[in-house]
Every structure is written in C-alpha cells, then in structure tokens.
C-alpha cells in the first residue's frame, strides 16, 4: 500500500453518499491493479526519440466507473502509483 501513498487512485467508497439503488462499480483500486506495465518494450526503441502512439477506439469503461477514473478509455487510465520512483 506504500506505493499508493503519494496519490491514491480514486477516492474511498462514498460512506456518506445517499443510498444508490443501482449496482455499485467495482472499487477503483481493482482497476489500478490491472494496469499493465506501460514501460514494457521500451528497450527496443531508439534512444532520444519521443513517441506518442495513436489511440484507436476499442472498449470503454462502464460509465459509472469512467466517472470515477476520469476517462472512458481503459488505455488512457494511467494512475500515478509511485512506480519506478527513485531518490535524487
């Protein structure tokens, strides 16, 4: 849990929110765990070049989850979880 200390991914469940009869979204933390390493494969690219891969339309999050996560696109969900940090 230390890694989440700098910036928790999303908020805690709304304990004081009004009762919502609709089904609840899965906790945001679960989505964070699914995030694959975004640095995978970088070692094969030339150094000193910047890349912005073009997005293609794939799937979208459930709308209630999208509102919590801040994007409807799973591939754009990039929570800052303190990975790859180093001391300077």
């Amino acid at each position: 849990m230390d890694r989440y200390a700098m910036n928790r991914c999303g908020r805690q469940p709304h304990s004081q929110a009004p009762v919502q009869p609709r089904k609840q979204c899965a906790p945001v933390e679960e989505e964070c765990k699914k995030e694959p390493s975004m640095f995978h494969g970088l070692q094969n690219l030339p150094v000193a070049m910047a890349y912005v891969p073009c997005q293609t339309f794939k799937t979208t999050f459930e709308l209630c989850k999208a509102l919590q996560l801040g994007t409807i696109f799973p591939e754009l969900f990039k929570p800052f979880c303190g990975e790859r940090r180093c001391c300077r």
Binding site: V19, A66, L67, F73
Partner: protein, 98 residues
C-alpha cells in the same frame, strides 16, 4: 428515496437520474476530446451519438419530473409558471453544489 411516478411513466429518483446525467455528460466530454483528434472514427462518432441521445433523454426526464437543469429543457414540465427561475440556485444545498 423512492421513484416518482408521473402519468404513465415511472421515473428514477432525483439522485439516480442526476447520476445518469453526470455519467453521460462526462462520456460526451471525453468522446469530444477523442473525436477532436480522430474526426473520421465511426465507432467514436457512434458512441458519441448514443451518449448524447441518452443524456438528452435523461435531461428531459429530469426536467419533467424535478425541474429543468438546462435552459433548453426549461419548459419541459409544461407548467403554467416559469420553472427555470423557481429552481434552487447552484450554491444552495438543494442545488447542484454540495
């Protein structure tokens, strides 16, 4: 809070409907950003249209049952008075801000 019924149509609760409006509004905003860089993406356009349609329906239903949120649905409840000005102000507890 129970659902309100108005005529033949049963309506979700105020909170539930507001949540739906917020969700579709957010989806429309995010799709708008996507379409800015992918103007010819048919899937994106279709998703945008679906969400706009559902958002409009939800806004109309909200206006009819609980009062207008947007000026283009201000007369949706077909009341004898101008409901727009009778709604809570955004900074009131009953309004949008909490």
């Amino acid at each position: 809070m129970s659902g309100n019924s108005n005529g033949m149509q049963t309506c979700p609760s105020k909170e539930e409907l507001m949540k739906k409006i917020n969700e579709h509004s957010f989806a429309v905003d995010d799709l708008l950003l996507y379409l800015d860089t992918h103007p010819d993406c048919e899937k994106g356009l279709q998703c945008y249209r679906e969400n706009v349609k559902k958002r409009k329906e939800a806004l109309k239903l909200y206006a009819k049952n609980y009062g207008p949120l947007t000026i283009d649905t201000a007369d949706e409840c077909a009341s004898k008075s101008w409901e727009w000005v009778l709604q809570p102000w955004p900074w009131e507890n009953k309004g949008g801000c909490r």
